[in-house]
């Protein structure tokens, strides 16, 4: 490649010189007019060019990064959600309930319908468990006869009060904060629970 470039560039120089010659200007003008034989000027232009591109790159790049990593900043997305009248939960029973996740978007479809287990013990006290196994998040199922929650993925088992019974889970089931208002059962929900952050 370089072999073909050199003759080309020297041809151009000759053409330029001859053009300059035609106009009767001395050759020293070549430097001023910014042709490639002025190394300082060339370096300067390259530096300005690089600087300009860094600045422009930041102008473009920072908003892009901000857009991408906005998902990294979390705002509080939880709120109190009603699971319906408290009477529908019989004392001494555990049953499945579900709610629409707060802040659900129009395109979320059914994926924003979140299930949870509601336990009302014999004295009428509530416990609300997240559906997700604390091991790797699979949905646990309640087996009333043996009084256990069982996970279909890796066989984690929990007692009816949510405590870990067996298998790989490192802790008991995640529990929602809950309260009763005007006869309705409310839970504080809105995010998927993980080991570093409960519901």
């Amino acid at each position: 490649m370089s072999d073909t470039e050199h003759p080309g560039s020297s041809e151009r120089n000759q053409a330029h010189e001859s053009a300059a010659g035609h106009e009767g200007r001395p050759c020293s003008c070549a430097g001023k007019s910014g042709e490639p034989d002025n190394p300082d000027r060339r370096k300067f232009l390259i530096r300005v060019g690089i600087g300009l591109n860094i600045a422009a790159g930041a102008l473009v790049g920072i908003p892009v990064l901000g857009y991408l990593f906005s998902a990294f900043r979390k705002k509080e997305e939880r709120s109190w959600i009603s699971l319906g009248p408290a009477d529908q939960f019989e004392a001494g029973k555990i049953r499945l309930a579900s709610y629409r996740n707060p802040g659900a978007k129009g395109w979320d479809g059914q994926s924003a319908d979140i299930p949870c287990w509601v336990r009302r013990d014999d004295s009428g006290e509530f416990q609300v468990f997240a559906i997700n196994c604390t091991h790797l998040g699979c949905p646990v199922r309640w087996f009333e006869e043996s009084g256990l929650f069982l996970c279909p993925c890796h066989g984690g088992a929990y007692y009816q009060d949510g405590a870990r019974a067996a298998g790989p889970p490192p802790r008991g089931l995640y529990q929602y904060e809950h309260r009763l208002r005007n006869g309705e059962l409310l839970v504080m929900g809105g995010r998927i629970p993980t080991l570093s952050q409960s519901v």
Partner: protein, 494 residues
């Protein structure tokens, strides 16, 4: 007419330099020993990539990457769009073949010592391509947006949630929100369709460029170790004196293998069709049994079999360490013998890795650790275990079913395998030990004390005590200070 066509072709070639480009790429020199059937896996992996690109673009014409619509659009592809099922099948089976053949390619490269000097970066780029291909397989599984996709993503989220300090931020970033929903699918669509394929194509060009500039590895001969100061000359010698060229000397084998692979992909599509989508992606339908696609089954199994105390560390650091070792391989094993028979550590390591992955994959596919959720209500008690039993023992057999013991304990080979099979439990446990085990649990067994009445315990233990080898007495406490006549093997088996 033919002359005119020929002239047009020649004109195009003079302008586009096609035959020169072909000569310089496909016509590159190779050692004679490399023109063998062992060297066909790389090109076949690339062929699969081509299939994936073409079928993927076709599917993207119809597929809706929206949590609301994805599932319906997949059904539309399967049942309404003409040949949609075929394209989905090609994309699914193409991915299976791509992963499988890529692993064969990698194994061949490892066995032939091809990663050694001076092809370190060919290996490194290949390892990253392998990881990216697995990334395509995982994100592709999410595209199926069914129950497995939803809960599979949930497993990923749970793993990331174990990262110390920034776990919540990472999961939020991965999901594009606080839960797995519309934004999560859009993210994985972007990864699957834009980001990962872009990096794959870039790295693949590097990988191929390196094949041209550093050459293809020769089939190793014992007693000819790689030396940094002489290898390149020796290689030149091999390629130029008595060497061959990829095209036309070796390409025939690649073409034949490629044709067979394409034929097998089509055969699988015709025989098995596309995969899923299975259950509706509605998290409130919890009677599901999430399983990942086969390339990740081994990991699913490892996640089950690890003791909890080491799990977070292994899940998070394990992949980093393993990938690090594989990438670093050509740097700590840079020279020396290439023949596998003279590399015992490498060969044994490879066998160990292959056998472990195969075993874990098998475990993942059968998942013996998962309770049989329906065994208690659907499986019969073997008749020889209840024939001629006392009412108490029969009651115990009922308790055994009703309390779902069967979900984890098999009788006659039917039932869960989470716990030991109990066909001969009375051979090894005394009634006292059985009571203790039921009430207090231990190891992997939950304590049933809260959920089973004393009468039920008595019944179920009476039943279990009849399950022993024929003609042998059931286990008993050797010295029972509270001997009572009922404690001895009750009824049925005299």
């Amino acid at each position: 007419m033919t002359k005119q066509l020929r002239n047009i072709a020649l004109w195009l070639d003079r302008r586009l330099h096609l035959s020169q480009i072909w000569e310089a790429t496909a016509g590159h020199g190779i050692p004679k020993s490399s023109a063998s059937w062992f060297y066909v896996f790389g090109s076949a992996t690339m062929l699969c990539l081509g299939v994936q690109i073409v079928t993927g673009i076709c599917l993207a014409l119809i597929y809706q990457p929206s949590a609301q619509e994805a599932y319906a659009s997949l059904h539309y592809l399967n049942y309404e769009q003409p040949l949609g099922w075929f394209l989905r099948g090609m994309h699914y089976w193409g991915s299976n073949f791509m992963v499988a053949i890529m692993l064969m390619h990698m194994t061949q490269v490892f066995v032939f010592g091809a990663y050694k000097y001076p092809r370190e970066l060919t290996w490194v780029s290949g390892v990253i391509l392998c990881l990216l291909t697995l990334g395509m397989a995982f994100t592709g599984q999410v595209m199926r947006w069914d129950q497995d996709a939803y809960w599979g993503l949930g497993i990923g989220v749970s793993m990331l949630g174990r990262v110390p300090f920034i776990g919540p931020e990472l999961t939020h970033f991965l999901m594009g929100g606080p839960i797995i929903a519309g934004n999560s699918l859009s993210r994985f669509f972007t990864l699957h369709v834009f980001i990962i394929p872009g990096i794959v194509l870039a790295l693949l060009s590097m990988h191929l460029r390196l094949v041209l500039s550093k050459g293809i590895n020769e089939a190793p001969t014992a007693g000819k170790p790689v030396r940094r100061d002489s290898y390149e000359e020796e290689y030149e010698e091999m390629v130029h004196r008595g060497g061959a060229r990829f095209a036309p000397d070796a390409i025939g084998k690649d073409l034949i293998f490629g044709g067979i692979v394409l034929g097998l992909i089509v055969a699988c599509v015709l025989l098995f069709g596309p995969k899923g989508p299975e259950g509706i992606p509605d998290p409130t339908l919890i009677n599901t049994n999430p399983r990942p696609d086969w390339p990740f089954l081994w990991f699913f199994a490892v996640a089950s079999l690890m003791p909890p105390y080491m799990e977070s560390v292994v899940l998070l650091l394990g992949p980093v360490v393993a990938i690090g070792i594989v990438i670093a391989l050509p740097f700590f094993d840079n020279t020396g013998e290439k023949k596998w028979t003279l590399r015992p550590v490498s060969t044994v390591s490879l066998i160990l890795v292959v056998v472990s992955l195969a075993a874990f994959t098998w475990y993942g596919a059968t998942s013996p650790w998962s309770p049989e959720m329906d065994a208690w209500s659907s499986e019969p008690t073997p008749s020889h275990m209840i024939d001629g039993r006392t009412p108490l023992e029969l009651q115990g057999a009922l308790v055994f079913q009703y309390k779902q013991c069967r979900n984890c304990h098999a009788l006659d080979g039917i039932g869960g395998q989470r716990g030991p099979a109990l066909d001969l439990v009375a051979d090894r446990m005394t009634p006292d030990q059985l009571v203790r085990q039921v009430v207090q649990g231990s190891g992997n067994m939950p304590a049933y004390g809260q959920n089973i009445s004393p009468a039920e315990v008595k019944a179920v233990v009476a039943f279990l005590h009849t399950l022993h080898t024929e003609g042998r007495l059931p286990a008993q406490t050797a010295l029972n200070l509270h001997e009572d006549p009922e404690g001895s093997p009750a009824g049925g088996d005299e």
